[in-house]
Amino acid sequence: MADARKPDAVLVPDSMRQGDRSYHRIDSILRVAEPILGLDPSAGRPGHMRAVQSIAPPDGGFYYLCTGNATGDTLLFPKGHPREGQQRYRWEDAGPLKLGYLVEEATLGAS
């Protein structure tokens, strides 16, 4: 069942990266994620993307984790956390994307 909340994160597959310039490649990922996250770069609220490389993502693919924060917002709970290694988000499929909703104990912008 789809969650009524706005997602806290979006996983965009690397296969959706387009363009022949660095700027275009970054833009091609973020312009997919930003509307879903309610972010607006023209209003000074851009999305941020970082690679996730592991068999840990929901289906083991190569994704970019997109959120509204430049730091923190890791895929998993961090080392040393009581829930270390567990997913910080509950993931829902949305076509090629995965929409993430923070689980209990997880805080936006933190690891």
Binding site: R21, Y23, H24, H48, A70, T71, L76, F77, P78, G85
Partner: protein, 140 residues
């Protein structure tokens, strides 16, 4: 003015030491840090396996203000940010790099005869969870 789709010169280069923006920046490099572990054995004369097991992102900054980086204690950690500006400073053409959990490793300074003094600072970074890259990108 529309973006040029080219980037030139760095601004807003920050590392939390002294809470200052680093200035007189000559060059900034961010690296993905990929590499492969290779294998050869028995009668092999060439590697028969190359696999990317680890990724170690990092950054290097070259500045003409050596004091700013020579004063940082090796091992100091924080968030390193830098903006690669649009070549004509157009809005919407810059790339912003953020290296979380950056660790200042070393700085070297030099000044050949007849040249300006420089310093090069190197940073590594760690991932909080081991699977999310500490290097984030956005544009402005």
């Amino acid at each position: 003015m529309s973006a040029t789709n080219l980037q030139a010169n760095w601004t807003a280069v920050t590392f939390p030491t002294n809470a200052t923006t680093l200035n007189k920046i000559d060059d900034v490099s961010f690296r993905l840090g990929g590499g492969t572990e290779k294998y050869a054995g028995d009668l092999d004369r060439f590697n028969t396996l190359a696999v990317a097991l680890m990724t170690e992102p990092g950054a290097t900054i070259q500045t003409s203000n050596p004091a700013q980086v020579m004063g940082i204690l090796p091992g100091t950690s924080g968030t390193l940010t830098a903006t690669h500006s649009d070549a004509k400073l157009a809005t919407g053409g810059a790339i912003v790099y953020t290296l979380s959990n950056a660790i200042f490793e070393d700085a070297q300074t030099n000044g050949p005869h007849g040249s300006l003094g420089k310093a090069t600072a190197t940073f590594s970074a760690i991932s909080s969870d081991g699977v999310t890259s500490p290097l984030a990108f956005t544009r402005s």
